[in-house]
């Protein structure tokens, strides 16, 4: 990594770590929600951006993780035991969702995954005995870690912030490994990839499964953050929002989801001073971004002079 980029990354992390100390509780909640969504969008970036698959059903995995957390934690399971369970379940369901991708691509795959999201949403809404239906599940406890309570919003933020950094490091390692190169080959040219001995079946399924596991982990943190879950945060609109985050930030770029999640989670809140107009302005900003920056925010060219100064 170039020195200028490393410095920018450190500055961004320090800013993210320090900022919540100066925010009210709703601001801390939003920063934590940003971290939760970032877990899911980083996973989606692997599936869509790096491996070139299409998914309009990612929010379903966030929901599966959240419901696992809600049900198991209310049964007394510790948070750290719920995390791997939710990740493994979502990994397995993600593998299953990957199978349509072996048969169809592009908009056909988009609709197959969208159908999956609708199916999961209906299960969450209609299976009242398990999920509480539209009444949801309330009273989800915040975790405690080695006897240290994370009930406070700031404490839970730092826990989530640390977790998203850890997940980011794991994904960074994965994408730098030969797997990352195989995902890129699968995205760029699957026919050529197969002729070079790359098992496109395995990598397609893994791309879905790993992305799903990340969202499942995010779902566990989501349940602990909001402490009450019901089906609506996991509908198709949420999946579209996550996909928007990937595309706005820069699909297939490691830090793309960070910027994209800022846009979809934090920007609408910053625009609230516009009162009734804030969603219209947000919508216009997204349209403008798509038209002028189809490669996402990270495709903005950095002026050479600025780059040189920063690199000094």
């Amino acid at each position: 990594m170039k020195r200028s980029r490393a410095l920018a990354l450190v500055a961004m992390l320090v800013a993210l770590a320090v900022l919540p100390n100066f925010l009210k509780s709703y601001g801390v909640y939003l920063m934590t929600l940003f971290c939760v969504y970032l877990m899911a969008t980083m996973g989606l970036n692997l599936t869509v951006g790096y491996a070139g698959q299409m998914s309009l059903g990612h929010a379903a995995f966030l929901g599966i993780g959240a419901y696992h957390a809600a049900i198991l934690m209310k049964l007394g399971w510790p948070f750290l035991a719920v995390l791997p369970v939710a990740a493994v379940v979502c990994f397995a369901v993600g593998l299953a969702l990957g199978f349509p991708a072996l048969r169809v691509q592009h908009h056909y795959l988009a609709f197959a995954t969208l159908g999956f999201n609708i199916l999961v949403y209906l299960v969450m809404r209609n299976e009242e005995k398990v999920t509480g239906g539209t009444f949801g599940i309330s009273g989800i406890p915040r975790p405690s870690l080695f006897g240290f309570s994370l009930d406070g919003s700031l404490a839970f933020f730092y826990f989530t912030f640390g977790s998203v950094l850890l997940l980011g490091l794991v994904l960074w390692g994965l994408l730098r490994s030969p797997w990352g190169r195989a995902f890129a080959a699968l995205r760029d040219n699957p026919i050529r990839a197969e002729s070079l001995g790359i098992n496109i079946t395995a990598y397609t399924l893994l791309a879905f499964a790993i992305g799903a596991a990340c969202a499942g982990i995010g779902g566990v943190y989501f349940a602990a953050l909001v402490q009450f879950i019901e089906p609506s945060p996991f509908n198709v609109a949420a999946s579209l929002t996550m996909l928007l985050a990937i595309i706005v930030g820069g699909s297939g770029r490691f830090f793309g989801p960070v910027l994209g999640t800022v846009v979809v989670v934090l920007l609408p809140e910053w625009l609230r001073f516009m009162q009734n107009w804030y969603l219209a302005v947000f919508g216009f900003a997204v349209v403008a971004l798509m038209v002028w920056l189809p490669g996402g925010l990270l495709s903005i060219p950095i002026p050479k002079r600025f780059g040189k100064r920063a690199g000094k």
Binding site: L174, R176, S177, P178, W179, R181, A182, A184, A185, R187, D188, N189, I191, R192, A193, E194, S195, L196, G197, I198, N199, I200, A202, G252
Partner: protein, 250 residues
Amino acid sequence: MTAAAKFLEVKEMRKAYGAIKAVDGVTMSVGPGEIVGVIGPNGSGKTTLFNSILGQIKPTSGAVEFCGEDVTGMSPLELARRGVGRTFQTLQVFGKLSVRDNLIVAAQEFKGSLPGRLIAKPDAGLGERADEMIDLFRLQHVAGALAGTLSYGQQKLIDIAMAFMAAPRLVLLDEPCAGVNPSLVDQLRELLVELNRSQGGSFVVIEHNMDFVMKLCPHVICMVEGKVLAEGPPAAVQANRQVLEAYLGN
């Protein structure tokens, strides 16, 4: 060629699209270390024959044997694992990967297991081999560049280098000279001769550049309308009256 020496055998291969017989009963064989040229006019079934051999399309009938094993209808993945490489008629590099990464990804799946590659070094232990190929193909000055940003000729060299990266036992090259400038054609021929000498694999080359084929391939097959019209040493095929009438002209 004796039966024992046969390495790749294609028997009575047929591929029909409705009433159109793209490949119509082609039988051919390739020996170990041999370079065979396949020539013929456009639409004569050369690429369809390649795709049928390589599992890219399902042949209507016929058989393919590789090293004595029936590999008819096997997927490109299974054939790649058996040491069969290929290039395509059009450029097929991974445009968003660097030249070096294009070469590494072309061989990494033959190193270790799938879970093992997750914790392997980023270059999968293939950095040295990739650098050798970069030197051989004279791509040192663009080794770190994204393949998609390079010229057509450079991408063609990367494409071919990728096919040889894992040192396959058999490589099928589909029009390696297409769109390549004349000076690069000679370089390409020298490279293939060098790779044939150093790696010892067998090559089957589809090509329209007669000078290239005649200088490179000791054995040439001419296909017309899905059938083998003539085969033998290049000079004999070039002088064959039917080949002259159907393809080469006077």
